[in-house]
Amino acid sequence: MNAQLQRALRSPALAFVGLALVWELCVHAFAPSPRYLPALSAIAQDAWSVWPQLMRGFGRTLLETVLGFAMGAVFGCLCGTVFTYSRWMERSVFPLFVVSQTVPVVAFGALIVIWFGNSLLAKVMTAFFLTFFPVTVNTLRGLKSCDPQRMALMKSFGANRFTMFFKLAVPSALPQVMVGLRVAIGLSLIGSVVGEWFGETVGLGVMLMEAMNADLVVRLWVVMFACGLMGALLYGLLTFVERRLVWWRSES
């Protein structure tokens, strides 16, 4: 019983409820202008009033985020692998990757609209642009940190490069790759929201812009909560996958 209580006290759900309580109390006690801090109930009410639009926006942004993330993940893993095994590529192309990341994604917005039009693909590309880099870097690092003694052992068994890669290098890089993916999923969400600012009619980013232009402060909070919820969901899902895939992490 006691252990159960302790676990409940430590769970994040309790922290959320606590924060919500403090929030409501503050609103009741100090009655700030809703411009600065609206009551949670007001936010919920506002969310309910635009429920269909909110759901559609949520779905759309989720789709963009997931697609951008998937593309970035695949591309990042490929590039990380190529850079690991080709010194030449690492020296010549990798610096370009670094430079590309120093340009803020907002600066690319207009260009992306010109290239990809006002399409789903345009938002996916902004999300992709933010995600491929952390995945590349972490894949590269993961593959390079493969234990040389284990590689020697595999070699002494007569393993070729192919076997070595799939039986040793990939599994040992996996924990590091997962680190990159966890960073990337959050960035992908940012990418798709920002991408929507450059012209779109559906999406959380669109709702955010509209709320900002119309000075709907409560709506801003609604969208913020929606984004937070999506981020947490995706992150949670990824953590779940990671636990199944690289459960041996604890060892080293």
Binding site: Q149, R150, A152, L153, S156, F157, G158, K167, W248, E251
Partner: protein
């Protein structure tokens, strides 16, 4: 079986050159258990890597395996090699770690697992087939590594201080267990250690290496009767051998010490 003729290994160029192994001659006959002792940093591991085929020896000597000279990398896959660390893959179960070499060779997984499963009791791992390395004790992990080496059936087994990291009691148990195993299978073994007792207890022949640059200083045939039980270490013959070898190694250790003194 294995013969090293005037094998050298130097690292670096001209002035900054270090000679790790110099003019090593040794010969291991089939089914022989040869142990190699030497002070730390004497080039044991370099010698080992050369025999495993991981490092090419310098051109002035030759390495013969089964009578044929071996060129760069030709030894890979011919010698079953067990390094100091167990190097188990944390994502593989005991059984799958044991069959790693077989898998690399291309043996179908099912067949390889069957063979490994049959060997588990002999290695004291019965009932642990599906455990993961982090669930095992140090001694068990080492036995899994040894089983992996055993399943990679090659004429020569190279063991590099396999029990070095174990506590004294576990080590003694493992030594006797290894002797029994060897008596049954009679593989040719080259066993590196820095523990003289271990070298005498296990070997048919003890080779002592000199301080860096390493070379074989002496070769002592151990004619203690087999099977050797734990009490053999208390016999006068054993103690006599130990005293002699200890003196030799002590001499080499002091040289290493003196070298380090002048270097700094």
């Amino acid at each position: 079986m294995l013969e090293l003729v005037n094998v050298w290994k130097r690292f670096g160029e001209a002035q900054a050159q270090t000679v790790a192994v110099s003019g090593v001659n040794l010969r291991i006959a089939k089914s022989e258990f040869v142990t190699l002792v030497g002070p730390s940093g004497c080039g044991k591991s370099t010698l080992f890597n050369m025999i495993a085929g991981l490092l090419p020896p310098d051109d002035d000597g030759s390495l013969l395996f089964g009578g044929a000279p071996q060129r760069d990398g030709q030894l890979l896959g011919k010698v079953s090699f067990m390094p100091q660390r167990d190097l188990l893959f944390p994502w593989r179960t005991v059984l799958d770690n044991a069959i790693l070499a077989l898998e690399v060779e291309g043996t179908p997984r099912k067949e390889a697992r069957e063979r490994a499963r049959a060997m588990l009791p002999e290695f004291g791992l019965a009932g642990f087939a599906n455990h993961y390395p982090h669930q095992l004790s140090g001694g068990m992990r080492q036995r899994v590594a040894l089983m992996r080496t055993f399943l990679f059936e090659r004429d020569l087994m190279l063991l590099d201080e396999p029990f070095g990291a174990l506590d004294a009691l576990t080590r003694t148990r493992m030594q006797h267990w290894l002797l029994e195993l060897w008596a049954r299978h009679r593989r040719t073994v080259l066993f590196i250690t820095h523990d003289i007792d271990e070298a005498i207890l296990l070997g048919d022949k003890v080779l002592v290496m000199t301080a860096r640059p390493g070379t074989v200083k002496s070769e002592t045939v151990i004619d203690l009767p087999r099977p050797r039980d734990p009490s053999v270490v208390l016999t006068p013959e054993f103690i006599g051998l130990k005293q002699r070898l200890l003196a030799e190694i002590e001499e080499e250790s002091q040289k290493t010490f003196a070298q380090e003194g002048t270097a700094s």
